[in-house]
Symmetry: C2
Subunit: 471 residues, 2 copies
Amino acid sequence: MNFDIDDLICSISTPPGVGAIAIVRISGNDSLMLLEKVFKPFKAILVSELQPKKAYYGQILDNDTLIDEVLVTYFKAPHSYTGDDIIEIACHGSQFIQRQILQLLIDKGCRTAKPGEFTMRAFINGKMDLTQAEAVGDLIHSRNSWSHKAALTQMKGSFSKRLMVLSDKLLHLISLVELELDFSEEDVEFADRGMLKTLLTETQTEVQQLYNSYSAGQVIKSGIPVAIVGQPNAGKSTLLNKILQEERAIVSEIAGTTRDTIEDTIVLDSIEFRFIDTAGLRKTGDTIEKMGIERSLDKVNRAWIVLFLFDSTSNIADVKHAFELVLTSSDTNQHIVAVANKVDLLKTDQRDSKIQEIADSIGIAPSDMVYISAKHEKNIPELVTKLVEHAKEMLPDEDSLIVYNTRQYELLMKILVALGDTLTALENQLTGDLLAFELRKVLTFMGELTGTVISPDMVLANIFKNFCVGK
Amino acid sequence: MNFDIDDLICSISTPPGVGAIAIVRISGNDSLMLLEKVFKPFKAILVSELQPKKAYYGQILDNDTLIDEVLVTYFKAPHSYTGDDIIEIACHGSQFIQRQILQLLIDKGCRTAKPGEFTMRAFINGKMDLTQAEAVGDLIHSRNSWSHKAALTQMKGSFSKRLMVLSDKLLHLISLVELELDFSEEDVEFADRGMLKTLLTETQTEVQQLYNSYSAGQVIKSGIPVAIVGQPNAGKSTLLNKILQEERAIVSEIAGTTRDTIEDTIVLDSIEFRFIDTAGLRKTGDTIEKMGIERSLDKVNRAWIVLFLFDSTSNIADVKHAFELVLTSSDTNQHIVAVANKVDLLKTDQRDSKIQEIADSIGIAPSDMVYISAKHEKNIPELVTKLVEHAKEMLPDEDSLIVYNTRQYELLMKILVALGDTLTALENQLTGDLLAFELRKVLTFMGELTGTVISPDMVLANIFKNFCVGK
């Protein structure tokens, strides 16, 4: 990785851009010596005597040239984020000042930190394990309450703790299995094979759960896929635009609603949705149009929620045909929301009967439909509420452990394979050395997951610690 | 202005966006009580007992729901930026977390701060005067070393101090003039009219200097205007693109070089340049093209530096004609840089003689020209160096007091007018009451500039303080 952990590193830790305040952070064990060269506290105190965790006003000076008046806080190792000495310089948030300070620090012997290098140091210094370090990154990039919660849970080490409990139990059993090797001539079995099987199965179940959570994790991270389908000209694009507008109108910046730069992704009530606009569904002989319809149906297939939009004024057979196409591509796990558009165009005295006819033809009760006018922005908030309700039903519990990270996902897969191999070895009553070999693979992958390196030495150390038989 | 200064206010003080750290700031005298509702330190300490200026790790909780693990620093009034109690919450820099914390604070009784409201409170609480408050805003938006320096100087109150010295002297004299009014029947002159005239003239000179600095201030703020002019197809647009590219290539993000979103504005060596591309200059009978050429020449007129670009392979008469057009529109204050483009297309043995001929025709020595190939990016750094050299010659001294602010500029103008009126009144030997009236106008505008309200009461108070004659 080519990181030198003894280097003094610095970076701007606040978001890029202009603000009232920006923070420049220095980490490394000569931090105070570096600070001494650039900082003059207003109080009569030597930089070398700054009290940890205390904020000091003063000047950042390049020789005699004033760069800025700042607030400096010193965090003494090991009581800092990285575990090394850390200096935080809170300066005025002009980009010019931020750069000047960084440049000055570089001139005085610091180097700019690589992405994630502060957290990497925290990991190296044992302040956190790998999954916690990864959670820091996830936390910073969380855009909705689910991913935020998951990152916080993982940052607190819940994920590792759960794995560690399992891995400690396995380590205990592997120790016993390996101990048998020393007594191979005596044909003893220190490790209860039944207990081992139970533990392996238990582990398999837990790991499988974590492994399975990844698909939900991905959806939570990138947004719940919502396909808007229906006949041509049912008003799909208009509706999409109005939902995006609505979102802007009903909830302020503060209330947690954001329109992402990725087109058509929005956060509504802390849940991220990814809207997928599709081509209109209708009977057609045109080959190109047929391909478009197939693509639309494929999108239906991948959506969690399907908004079936129909034009209330249109021919009932057309609505029915479009809906049947949707049904062929959806499954029972999906929520289908029937949305009647252009209801304002129906004559008042005909409205109920027309809706009832459509309802009968597609088999959805009128009371389960949402009635809107996309064009005149009628009832959009009601539709949004419905979306959020469905999403909450489908999402895993906010407190459950969810895997978002691809590295972790891949290691979980490796652990599952290794667990399967071990169970097979156990069933085939393979010898202790082969069993130990398979078990070690499981532990290695678990160790990789949390970043602890489980070496054979550790396994040995564990034997002697717990099971010194005096030999 | 509808700011309630007793409200608890909060805002995100770091730049908008995602970063490692963000800071949420609370100001108001119930800050600690608010913090108590949302913050739980890891250390066993009550929030009400937090030591000022000390950083505490802990959790931001919405009832029992963890929002983030943060670092909190409390600044006790009056030793804070605003002069009220301030709480700084350094949280993880996800936008979601930033918003959640802000929302939580609002739910607990805070309101979001209006732009500049923290600084306004600092002014109201007497932590700084108006020009200093304005300087804070300027500092945050400074993009180059000149505006940065000017803002820092003004933030330290240099501007106000200079005005205050003058205004104190004037106040002394006005007191004397007003004292005369009490003795009007006795025809005494406490205020020496000669001294008054000297002081007024001195003030006039200083205010005039500040007033004059505004145009330089504007240029420093928005970039030194550089017009790129020359014949059609001399390579003006290519050169402009290469300079902008060069800037990106030769200096990293750290080194202080930025490409602004405003097209064609860049910072080179801490100086901001604003490049102005122009239409080609040549002899033409076409009315439309003539208008284009006139516009180009008008831009030449407003530029500080003129890059006269010519195609080395072209007809000497054409180069001469274009250059003469430039000369007619430029003045002696401008720097004209002759840039020979496409020198690589000249045959080696003919290069020197061709350049000499052009040099003779436009009256610029070959050694004063810059030779480039815009297309092949030859010698662009040399041209940039030349630009920076010229700019440094033309810019005011970095240490000089420069006015950037329009409000200040307008008040300086009012002061100048009032000073002129006072001097006229003095020359016309107007009576003390009329003279005092004019002088008061000068002081009022000075007071408006620094934000101190100089009321007639103050003038009176000054009389009694210094000149109590026992009456």
